[in-house]
């Protein structure tokens, strides 16, 4: 198939960007979206124009490195699918496809389609962990975890940190990302000792960088791992409870 691509080009963080239009010909239906971009980049290189910068790595939908807006949707039209797993058979000959980077003030553009998502790391550094030094752990089967809790924790832990939730949100909120990590840990017995301090630290760090959630639900729809918005409700509950629990603990 032949396609027209309207792609965001931006030379650097401080330079203004603009759309450029390119034609790619004879794209195979079997190709992935990123392989189509590879093909375009090969053409551009041959023609003496600098290839388009985009982030990617595993190309299996697990590392969370890829991610662009495709016709206005984070990761494109197929639900539960990261950009790298999207295949060209979802498009047809003659289509025009618009490709942009994530748009959020917390994720500044580095170049073309590449953005800086490091505020996500700041949220994890604030409390997205269980404090246990290497070597200090008891036998693994001393901790018994109900299968349902383990399964729910895994559902939350499946987040790949791609940033689609932020890109989809009209307020650029990072609640789904934050809630997924917090609830992964807060649902497990191992996570209980730090549950309330974690809730406060992660939420407050999130609020330093990102907008606030007004329950649009766009994040869940955009998530390539179908992470449920219910985790946000649980996070809110933990955050409210934490205000009392932490005070109670401190006064003991």
């Amino acid at each position: 198939m032949d396609l027209a691509l309207k792609i965001w080009r931006q030379a650097g963080p401080d330079t203004p960007g603009e759309f450029a239009t390119y034609i790619v010909r004879e794209v195979s239906e079997e190709a992935s979206f990123l392989e189509m971009l590879d093909q375009l980049n090969e053409d551009l290189n041959n023609q003496g124009e600098e290839p388009i910068a985009f982030d990617h790595d595993c190309r299996e939908g697990i590392c969370g490195m890829c991610g662009v807006m495709i016709n206005g949707d984070p990761h494109g039209p197929q639900s539960g699918t990261a950009t790298c797993q999207l295949h060209m058979r979802k498009f047809k000959n003659g289509d025009t496809i618009t490709v942009e980077p994530w748009r959020a003030s917390a994720f500044p553009v580095i170049k073309d389609l590449v953005v800086d998502r490091s505020p996500f790391d700041r949220i994890i550094e604030a409390g997205g962990f269980i404090s246990i030094n290497t070597g200090a752990a008891p036998d693994a089967n001393i901790i018994s975890v109900p299968k349902e809790a383990a399964d729910s924790a895994m559902n939350a832990a499946a987040c790949i940190g791609c940033g689609a939730c932020v890109a989809a949100c009209p307020n650029s909120a990072a609640n789904l990302f934050t809630a997924a990590k917090m609830q992964h840990l807060n649902l497990l017995p191992q996570g209980q000792p730090e549950r309330w301090t974690r809730a406060v630290a992660m939420v407050e760090t999130m609020e330093e960088y990102f907008g606030s959630c007004t329950n649009h639900g766009e994040c869940e729809a955009a998530c390539p791992k179908n992470i449920s918005i219910d985790f946000i409700a649980w996070m809110n509950r933990d955050y409210v409870k934490a205000q009392f629990k932490n005070v109670a603990k401190a006064s003991q």
């Binding site: 590879d38 969370g64 800086d116 490091s118 290497t134 383990a150």
Partner: protein, 645 residues
């Protein structure tokens, strides 16, 4: 094409005495750095995959000053994240006869008797601690209804010793290590540099004293000095261009170290994984693994009649050749990877492949679904089945999967001693970057185990032995000539890539190299093929340096420039791989020389002449490398021909 041989015999520094006590005794004999002195040391960790993140976090917890570097945007990413199937440990929770000794034995045998006994025994010993540690971190391993941890069996093992987190074990273990690292970053013991690529190891007076790094977003070149440098930079399967590795995986860090004196061990030991989705077109950029765990429930077959063009479901059972079950009745579909891959290759060579390009074999879940119900299969593999469907547009619950072998893992890597130190004092290599524990073939679910063993439990102890000699000495200042010279090398190389002004892209050369490597240094190797490959690689390398076209500049994000450096290094490494393959006149594990096989086509080892590790020393581009050897002693496992029949 002769290599200058055997100038030295390497010693591993492994302890002696009963194997069960070696690690314990060694730890006791190792010099300790007292807690108050640890903060006087600077340690650089390059790479934050499983091995690097676990090492950096643990060193930070111990009180060292750690600087960690990764070319990824975050330590939450690394190739490790893609591991699907699981991680082994000798817990024996299922009570099916597993033990440390059995895991040790299986690993030595699976590696086709080409690994170091002491290291492998230590690996089996610490495997249990890894499960304890990661469970305490909150890694959501699969559990049984009673709330305890679940296990499954995995290629090459007859016991269930594999722990898993759905089909995302690597992701969950990496996130666990990343979170431990995040905790140290916020505690200030670890300083993390993202989007930063190490391009030189700095060596002064024979010791590793630091690294040179390029900031990938600004192009800035900086030096960093330390008392010791740890490379945890992963494997080199992408030398084949098409592999299951993440796109960015490369050999630059270990290759730059090799050029500075670190010996490269067993470069020809590469693993071609049997269960990957076959290539579908010429633009394909990578191959996707379908976890080996699928072989627990899937049956592998091809039609008996090579000309059978019926859809798979129309072919009656008695007209199918379940060739693994037929040839290896004891292990059936669970034979180790090298055996399964070569069997698939033989089927395709006999023109019995399936699919539009006749380049696959079937992996069929029909009887498992009948026996266990669709629900159970969904629970075990739904994410893999979805991934398969997304890529191929076929539903594996109904139509058998098509699979084919693809480059996946590299057992070779930098030579390290028992302390995981390379032949350059002060320079360590951990995880897939070293050669240590898997011999000539790695068993499934053992790479995660080894990466985390190295990072959490081995290196943090063994590094003290070296460091203790440098108490109260300052790291070499970055103004030293050793650093400024290394920076110049990096700058000049980048400028050279940009100024060649040829006609072809980096990917063009990478693809060409990959074709040569898969054809001549892949599943089957011959003297004639390898000799031809060496000449072809040299030609591609010359063309690369005269006809490369890299646009843009070096002072901002330039992904073509990054790849140019990596492919330049692959073009040198590839030649060493072929030379090693040529030199090793035997077949073992993933290294199959067609001249050395048994009557029924199995690998034929030559223990008398080749029971050693080959560790190669760099002597310059195009100049024959020097081979050093480390003899392998087998005191606890008797050498025998591997049999899975």
């Amino acid at each position: 094409m002769d290599n200058e041989q055997g100038t030295s015999v390497l010693t591993s520094g492994e302890p002696t005495g009963p194997i069960e006590n070696r690690w314990d005794n060694h730890r006791f004999a190792t010099k300790l750095v007292n807690p108050a002195n640890k903060r006087k040391y600077e340690i650089i960790v390059v790479g934050t995959g499983l091995a690097g993140a676990s090492a950096a976090a643990t060193l930070g917890e111990l009180g060292y000053n750690v600087k960690a570097f990764s070319y990824h945007d975050s330590a939450r990413r690394a190739h490790s994240i893609a591991a699907q199937g699981g991680i082994n440990a000798a817990k024996n929770y299922p009570n099916d006869g597993d033990s440390i000794h059995r895991l040790f034995y299986d690993t030595i045998k699976g590696g086709d008797y080409r690994s170091r006994e002491s290291n492998v025994y230590r690996l089996a010993q610490v495997s249990n601690e890894i499960i304890d540690q990661t469970t305490a971190q909150g890694v959501p391993f699969a559990r049984e209804y009673g709330g305890l941890l679940d296990n499954r069996s995995f290629g090459g093992a007859q016991v269930s010793r594999t722990f898993y987190a759905r089909g995302q074990t690597g992701q969950q273990l990496l996130l666990g290590a990343y979170q431990a690292l995040a905790r140290q970053i916020s505690a200030g013991t670890v300083e993390f540099h993202n989007r930063s690529e190490m391009l030189e190891v700095v060596v002064k007076d024979g010791r590793a004293v630091g690294i040179v790094v390029r900031d990938l977003t600004t192009g800035e070149i900086t030096s960093h000095s330390a008392h010791a440098v740890v490379l945890a930079t992963g494997g080199y399967s992408n030398v084949f261009f098409l592999s299951t590795n993440a796109m960015a995986c490369n050999a630059t860090a270990i290759w730059r170290a090799h050029r500075k004196g670190a010996y490269f061990a067993n470069p020809c030991y590469t693993q071609i994984h049997p269960t990957c989705i076959p290539v579908s077109d010429e633009f394909q950029s990578k191959l996707t693994l379908m976890s080996e765990s699928l072989r627990n429930d899937g049956r592998i077959w091809v039609p008996l009649d090579p000309d059978d063009s019926r859809p798979p479901n129309d072919i009656p059972e008695d007209e199918r050749d379940f060739y693994l079950e037929r040839q290896y009745p004891a292990f059936g579909n669970l034979v180790p990877r090298d055996v399964a891959s070569r069997a698939a290759m033989r089927m395709i060579d006999q023109n019995r492949g399936v699919g539009p390009l006749k380049n696959g074999v079937y992996l069929d879940f029909h009887s498992a679904i009948e026996r266990l119900g669709k629900h159970t299969i969904e629970e075990r593999y739904s994410n893999l089945f979805e991934m398969y469907e997304r890529i191929t547009d076929e539903n594996p619950y109904e139509v058998p999967m098509r699979i084919y072998p693809a480059p996946h893992y590299t057992m070779g890597g930098l030579w390290v001693d028992y302390n995981l130190m390379t032949s350059v004092p002060g320079l360590y290599a951990i995880g897939e970057a070293n050669f240590s524990d898997h011999g000539a073939n790695r068993l499934g679910a053992s790479a995660l185990m080894q990466g985390l063993a190295d990072g959490y439990f081995v290196l943090p102890y063994t590094i003290g032995q070296y460091l203790s000699d440098y108490l109260n000495t300052d790291p070499v200042p970055i103004e030293d000539e050793a650093f400024t010279d290394a920076e110049d090398v990096v700058r000049e190389r980048n400028e050279r890539f940009l100024s060649i002004g040829g006609t072809r892209s980096v990917d063009h050369f990478h693809r060409e190299l990959g074709k040569v490597m898969i054809e001549h240094c892949g599943l089957a190797r011959s003297r004639e093929g390898l000799e031809k490959a060496i000449t072809e690689i040299q030609t591609i390398r010359n063309e690369f340096w005269s006809d490369l076209k890299v646009l843009g500049t070096s002072d901002n994000l330039n992904q073509s420039l990054e790849r140019a450096g990596r492919v330049a290094d692959f073009l040198e490494l590839a030649e060493l791989m072929c030379r090693d393959a040529l030199d090793r006149e035997e077949s073992c594990g993933g290294h199959f020389r067609v001249e050395h096989q048994t009557e029924d086509g199995e690998a034929l080892r030559d223990d008398e002449n080749f029971a050693f590790v080959s560790a190669w020393e760099w002597t310059g581009v195009g100049s024959p490398p020097v081979r050093h050897t480390e003899p392998l002693k087998f005191e606890y496992v008797a050498l025998s021909q591997r049999s899975y029949k």
